[in-house]
Symmetry: C2
């Protein structure tokens, strides 16, 4: 941030104003304060006939790796709507959300992943341009050594283990620590 | 937004770029794209000896109404850390988080409330400047007709009812629709 987006001034300072607990970029001319906050990424584990809906990334970073459909929540939508839209955009699938499955903070990059369990309703479209391929893969077919991000591998492994045990949980935490809360 | 915060140009346009699904403010000079996304508000229901930790707002809007301690998640922290910090800032209490209790989207104002159940560890400080008073209130003492926001009243009423039933749930939804998922 180099210029004030309200008045165009280059006179920006990092300043803690009034009772605020954090320093913010503040325009020394018009006094506008700029807040930067973490973003929500919403997505789903979509299970269908013992297979899991995964997509192969067409975009950087790590093009060609596999992941679960997920992406940035947009203004004007709920977390659930964001997850459904992202699944549709990245795989062409319509889904029904069952329950939240993970709230995973990544404070290093200011993101919060909210992931749901979901079931497949129908494939109604082609995957969008961010996806090379979208496929339903069995546990044996999942390319475990070629998954985008360690937390995605973890959540899939937990899902498959919990499914065998017959009770799904919900993870709350980050990569360092967290708790699985089990649902009824 | 009137000026590009990267190059200072006033030549901003609302434009849908490449494969994006949404129009964004984009600088027609330096091509910088500006994304605006929903913000996370983290907070807690803190129960202690059948009383609930509430705070009276010292700030607008609706100064003087009562609410649960909660506020904007900041960069560099997890959702749980944000909730703990907000409780401490607004009430002076140290708490331990038990479990998530509500993920409540407010798409009208681009916010997602993530609320936890928590227990009181200690009061170690005075409430901060955003709070007129912080008090532990029994169900009978809660000023039900003077609560900041309808969803705060709803979540407190649900908590008290579930406590009597002996099983806590987790709400996932918005003001129009949602589901309570019960925990084991």
């Amino acid at each position: 941030m180099k210029f004030c987006s309200e008045c165009g001034s280059a006179n920006l300072v990092l300043r803690k104003t009034n009772h605020d607990t954090h320093s913010r970029y503040t325009c020394a001319d018009c006094e506008k304060i700029f807040y930067h906050n973490p973003k929500v990424i919403a997505g789903c584990i979509v299970e269908h006939e013992n297979k899991y809906l995964m997509c192969q990334r067409a975009i950087k970073p790590r093009t060609g790796t596999w992941t679960l459909p997920a992406g940035f929540m947009e203004c004007g939508e709920t977390v659930e709507q964001a997850a459904q839209r992202e699944v549709w955009e990245e795989t062409g699938a319509q889904i029904e959300i069952i329950a939240p499955y993970s709230i995973f903070s990544v404070p290093q990059i200011n993101e919060v992943y909210i992931m749901f369990r979901a079931k497949l309703e129908a494939f109604t479209d082609e995957p969008g341009p961010e996806t090379l391929a979208a496929e339903l893969l069995s546990a044996e077919q999942i390319p475990w050594d070629n998954i985008f991000y360690p937390a995605i591998k973890d959540i899939l492994q937990r899902y498959i283990a919990e499914k065998e045990q017959g009770t799904f949980g919900m993870y709350m935490g980050c990569s360092d620590e967290g708790i699985v809360h089990f649902m009824q």
